[in-house]
Symmetry: C2
Amino acid sequence: MSILVVGSVALDSIRTPFGNRKDILGGSATYFSIAASFFDKVDIVAAVGEDFPKKYITLLKGKNIGLEGLEIKKGGKTFRWSGKYEYDLNTAHTIATHLNVFKNFDPKVPKSLSRPKVLFLANIDPDLQAKVLRQIKRPQIVACDSMNYWIENKRASFEKLLDKIDILLLNESEARQFSGELNLVKAARLIVSFGPKAVVIKKGEDGVIYFSKRSHFVAPAYLLENVYDPTGAGDTFAGGMIGYLSRVGKTGDNDIRKAMIYGSIMASFAVEGFSVNKLLDISVTDIRRRYDKYRKITRF
Amino acid sequence: MSILVVGSVALDSIRTPFGNRKDILGGSATYFSIAASFFDKVDIVAAVGEDFPKKYITLLKGKNIGLEGLEIKKGGKTFRWSGKYEYDLNTAHTIATHLNVFKNFDPKVPKSLSRPKVLFLANIDPDLQAKVLRQIKRPQIVACDSMNYWIENKRASFEKLLDKIDILLLNESEARQFSGELNLVKAARLIVSFGPKAVVIKKGEDGVIYFSKRSHFVAPAYLLENVYDPTGAGDTFAGGMIGYLSRVGKTGDNDIRKAMIYGSIMASFAVEGFSVNKLLDISVTDIRRRYDKYRKITRF
């Protein structure tokens, strides 16, 4: 097996100036795994309720995503998030969060999945992220996401976890929140001092920064004319980045750089449609073509 | 002669979280010309009052900047701007603007300066920008800046001017304001439809976008750990970009790209000190070194 992702599989209800959608497929593990599936084999560890639509199971299976670790809780309801975006599409305003089965999510990694090459700990309680780490043989790469809530309410657990991971992915406001530094170079330097080999700071349409003790790298986002729904962009970025690293099986400087570009490319597709719709529409050729175009509009 | 810039030479008073400065050298033509002086010969057309400190005249002359077109108005006072920056350093909050001699600024291009290779129309009334154009032989490149005030209050004049210029430089909020489009690709496309060969949209610490009918290019900003005073960053960017284009004497796709990077590099130095202080501290070697570093942290 190759990539293991532990996170959420959810039903999202989204309002944007371009339309509304109800109970569409969402969740960090969903976006991540679909993006990563273009690069390598992915298995999910997550939980959904009995109400989780069969068609979404079929959809994930259709992407060759392993669902042995997807627990379907008897009598439970699937995690639901509803959110709203204004015209600028930069900030999600949460309307409601119903954790449902996700509330008592206690990730159990099946024995058959306990030796992944690469692990992505999507945004869940850092105590659970640590628990997952204890259930598996140390993978070649451990990458990890988080969110403002855990940074604020589980800071000690989060800090302890940082020492055990290779790549931490945060968005710029989380990086500033954790570090107390407005300047992103200072923020990144401080974060890396807590143990992770590298931090990736995601700035949405303003690109991404990679920062390790040895080097750093900056990349603009792929320029888009039509953005419909930014939900899941960060997890899709992670899926492209980690997926690529898993496929090449190396984490040299240039591998990381290419991986970040693939992450940006995958995220650029994700936001062009609601839910994972656009990701389901594209082929490896589309990804390759956009990667080449990206190179063309950034080289000098 | 090579580059002609028409704009302001001013005295700024700046408050930032890192300190305050009173009556320091500022103005669009000042920042532009000092940045451009590293690449080619520059002449200024501007006006100051009798109170303009001799030391600043000496300073500009020391950079080999031609001051034949700098009018020193008898009994007049120099244009003064005072502004304040909060911790995020992204937005200038104007405290006071005293136009003084700049109020009735009526740019007169001396005969000896009427055949520039490159013209930069810094941010002044678009009617005056058009007046400058009528006084000179059409240069190889005409670049132009503006601001929200003119876009709002002199829209017709500004639109008319657009047809006569090659490169329009705007920051992202101005581009959105002029076009009525939030999305920058749409904004750029609309702006270019008014006549300029290309538009450069400056996003400050989030980089810059170049957009013409034929091609586009995106570049992240040089990553800085210490930003002290963002005043003049946009004009310094223009100085680096236009200065480079003037030196190479070509505007091919790759020349434009390199020019944008030089613009970004010059701006990155400018914000590392108050006024033009850092720009006075650096050498061509420092610029070259930072350019190489920039290439290193962006290539993949």
